[in-house]
Structure formats: C-alpha cells, structure tokens
C-alpha cells in the first residue's frame, strides 16, 4: 500500500495551523515578549475555580447529560436574553467542548459533499479546514477591502445554488472588527431570500468597546436559520476549561446532538459547574477585565499610530490587526524578523486567510509594562526596516 493511501486524503492535504507552525519556531524561548497569544492574561476568577473545586470535593466527577447540565443551559438561556436571543434550554441549546467542537458539529450537521460555505476572512484558523473535513467547500470572502466588515453586497456576488451557509465572527478574531447592526440586517435579508444558514461565532461578545454587542440571531425571521456559537473562554478567562455552546433551531439540534454524543459525550462536569458560577456571580469581574482590555487597546492604538503603521481601530476582542505593508515585508517575513531581531512575537496575518496578507495580529491582553516594551521594540524594528 502506498504510504499516502494510509491516511485520509482530506487530512493529508490540510496544512497545519499557521499559528501552530509559528509557535513551533519560538517554543521554549524565554526571552520573547509575546503578543501572539489569543487568550486573556487573567487567571479565571477565583469564585469560578472555587466552585469547580467544590464540585470535585462533592464527588461530582461523572458524565452529565449529552446536552450538558440543565442548570447551566437554563443560566445560559437567561444570559442570552441580554442580547435579545431566546432559546429553549431543553431543545435549542447544547453545551460543547469549547467553541471549536461547536464549529465542527454544526458544519458536519448541515453540509453535504460539495456544499459551499461563504467564510468572511480574515477569520479564526479552524473554519476553513473544518468545512473541508465536513465535505464542504469554503468560499472565501475577502473583507480587507471593506475595513474587515463583510458586506451583504459582496456576499451576494459569491452566492451559488450550492451555497449552504455563511460564516461570520463578530467581534472578530484576528481583526477586532465589530459588524454594524445595519450590515447584519442586510445580511439577514439576504440569508432569508437565499434560504441559507448563518453561522455566527460570538465568543468575543462581551469584549466590545463601543455599542453593545448585537447578535444577528435577534433579527426578525432569523431564528430559524441562525446558528449562534458562544463560549466562556474569552469573557470569563476560561480558555482551558473548554466550555462552549450552540444555539440553533430544535430540528437542527436533533442532528447536532447525535454527533456530539458519539464525539464528546459531554463537556467536563467540573467545567460546567464553573460556568454556572461564572454566569451567576462574575458580572463585575467580566466588566473589570473588559475595562482593562479597553485601556490597553487605547494604549496600543496610540503607540502604533506613533510608529506610523496603519490599522483599522478595533471595536472588540483584544487584537490589533496592524497593516505592515509600508515596511515592504510580507506578514510572515515581518513576524519572523521581528522575533529574530527584537524578540517580539506577533502572528502573521496570512494564517487567517484571504485579506490577512500584509497584516500582523498583535494581542494586547498583556500587562502595560510588557506592551510598552514590545511597542518600543516594534517601533525600532519598523524604523530600521524603513531606513533599509
């Protein structure tokens, strides 16, 4: 048997995550200031951790229902009313193993071979590979020309009879862009007209710095075609807990739950107890963290302006997507040289898909003193590059 025949062709063709590849280059180096992380620099609030210890102490170490603890689903349903979303915790809400599992389950549940999913890019690194693993075809919508906001008009140009879904993420990783309500309304109208699903990753919903988050699922007539994905990683600094959730119509959920029970059985029970505590008593902690990110964003924006590199001011998440084209370097070269010369890690924009080339993602979830030093080094690097 040919060696290549031993493996899945889809997986063999798939490149490793660009982030992972970049990580391998700097692993083990202690002298680097990293703006390359995509997670809060806060440790999970104490009361959440304490609740999880308590759950363990009480011997709560079993499986839960495939759906997740009903108490957690009820808390999430209550929380979502804040965004004018209404979901039945018994049939329209599923607790998953982080948002990553949620993305996979949803795509596998809706796609048939050859179905197309329009993906607004730059975007989180897993969307496209998971679409392909599910037998679909990712159709890239480059948002770089429209300030990283996917426009209904541009989406319409990509629609074909095979289009099954549109994938959006707001606030966006890696750009920090927040989709305006007016554009979501146009997209919703288009989705209804074309009868396609809208998959909306809203994991950064709590981290917005202007208007409050608005979910496309709250628009009239969208509930039956919207699939809302969210989780606890970013808002509650719970990345390692792996708790996400899917909100979708009960009919679709009957398909999704089948996959979830074969795939993951259920999310870890102690994490689920932690998540209940997060929703019940950590509102102030979330606000404190959000304000801290806002100040660091402002600091970063001001410093990058002084360096003279362009960027679109982010309204959410904790990333600044800096345009490095004035340096004449590719995003990969910029990131590599920056590590070699100044020991600062950023993520090259090309790993996030179309529209990402020419940019680097800088995460500002870091202490001000580190941001200060990192930005001083970036300024020196850019100055030297420009001087040629």
């Amino acid at each position: 048997m040919e060696r290549s025949a031993k493996y899945s062709q889809v997986v063999s063709r798939m490149p490793p995550s660009g982030i992972r590849r970049f990580f391998d280059l700097i692993i083990g180096r202690k002298d680097i200031i990293s703006l390359g992380v995509g997670e809060p620099d806060f440790v999970t609030p104490w009361s959440i951790r304490e609740k999880a210890f308590y759950a363990l102490e009480k011997g709560r170490t079993s499986y839960t229902s495939n759906w997740g603890l009903l108490e957690l689903r009820q808390e999430i349903a209550k929380y979502l009313t804040k965004y004018k979303l209404s979901y039945d915790p018994a049939s329209e809400l599923l607790i998953t193993f982080g948002v990553s599992e949620a993305v996979d389950l949803v795509l596998r549940s809706i796609l048939n071979p050859g179905d197309e999913v329009i993906v607004a890019e730059p975007c989180y690194v897993s969307y496209q590979p998971l679409i392909e693993l599910a037998g679909g075809r990712a159709v890239s919508l480059n948002t770089a020309r429209t300030n990283f906001i996917p426009r209904a008009q541009e989406i319409a140009k990509l629609l074909t009879p095979r289009t099954k879904a549109l994938f959006i993420c707001s606030p966006n990783n890696p750009t920090g862009a927040v989709m305006p309500r007016s554009e979501l309304q146009k997209i919703a109208a288009l989705a209804k007209k074309q009868d396609i699903w809208v998959i909306s990753d809203e994991v950064y919903a709590e981290l917005v710095y202007g208007e409050p988050h608005f979910s496309i699922g709250a628009l009239p007539g969208l509930k039956e075609r919207a699939i809302i994905l969210n989780g606890f990683s970013k808002a509650f600094a719970m990345t390692g807990w792996r708790i996400g959730y899917i909100c979708c119509p009960a009919e679709l959920m009957r398909q999704v739950i089948k996959l979830h029970q074969y795939y993951a059985i259920c999310a870890p029970i102690m994490s689920q107890y932690g998540a209940i505590e997060a929703l019940q008593s950590c509102r102030d902690e979330v606000e404190k963290m959000r304000r801290s990110y806002l100040r660091r964003r402002n600091f970063m924006v001001s410093a990058v302006q002084k360096i003279g590199l362009p960027f679109a001011e982010p309204s959410g998440a904790f990333y600044l997507f800096v345009d490095i084209r004035p340096t004449g370097l590719t995003s990969e070269d910029f990131a590599l040289k920056l590590i070699q010369r100044e020991k600062v890690a950023v993520v090259p924009g090309n790993v996030f898909g179309a529209g990402g080339e020419g940019f680097v993602r800088c995460c500002y979830a870091a202490e001000i003193s580190l941001l200060k030093e990192a930005l001083a080094r970036i300024a020196r690097f850019v100055k030297n590059e420009r001087a040629g």
Binding site: F23, V37, V43, V125, R295, N298, F299, A345
Partner: protein, 161 residues
Amino acid sequence: MDEILELLQNDARLTPEEIAAMLKKDAKIVRKKIKQLEDEGIIVKYGVIVNPEKVPAKKEMVRAIIELSVTPERETGFDALAERIYKFPQVESVYLISGGYDLQVILEGKTLKEVAFFVSEKLAPLDGVRGTKTHFVLKKYKENGAVLSGKEKSSRLEVAP
C-alpha cells in the same frame, strides 16, 4: 477622575502620557487632574508594596497589631488620642473601628522587645487608654490588594489561537 485614580492605585509608575493614551485623553488634562487629586489630599502618597520576607533588612522586623480600648474625650472624641498615637514614627497605621475595641494600631519594630516596650511605655500609659492587646504578625499574605506569597503567574503559551 476615578479612572485615573484607579490606574494609579494599581500602578503608581504610570506616566501622565501613558494614562492619557489608555483613557484617550489629553496628557495636559491628565497632568492637571493628578495635581488636583494631590492638592485635595485624595492622593496622599505614591507607595511601593514590599514583601518583607524577601528583603534581608526587613525580614527580621517585627510587626504587631495592637487593639486599644480607649475613653473618648469630650469635644474631640477619639481624634485627639488617635492623633497623639499616629505621630509616633513607629506607628504605621491607626484605625478607629467598631466592635470589641476602639483603635487599631499597626506598628513595626526591630525586635519583639522594642515593640513590647513601645506598647507598655508609650501607648498603655496615655491618658484615655483603658487597655491594650498585642498581636504579633506571623506572616503577610496580602497587602493593599497585592498578593505577597504564591503570586499566580500566567502559564499561557507564547503563541496561541
């Protein structure tokens, strides 16, 4: 105003320019507001929280919390006595509190003997002091919101999704 105060309380090293960038304000305005906070006595002092366990000179120092039961004076209440006490340089803080006693005094001395001497010779004989109870501090865990031992460190990867 509160935001500036909050930032400085958390990190007194921040410059007005840095605070201005973080709050999207003019550096001149921030400088003026800091001055105003100082003039109004809202910002009393810029401090550093030291972990005494890690400073050789501090390591041997003795810290004590003294509970004082006192008789308040007519017109001045507890204030006059509190003032007499806080003027001693050995005294780090003085609080008027409710509960089983009236004044809580925190002080630092080079030796146990020195602290004991201060309590018995300086504090106890003061007019109005009815009784003292001395508690020696064995270990400091947290001070002014800062954790002194076993500080949590982020274990994030250098690059992540």
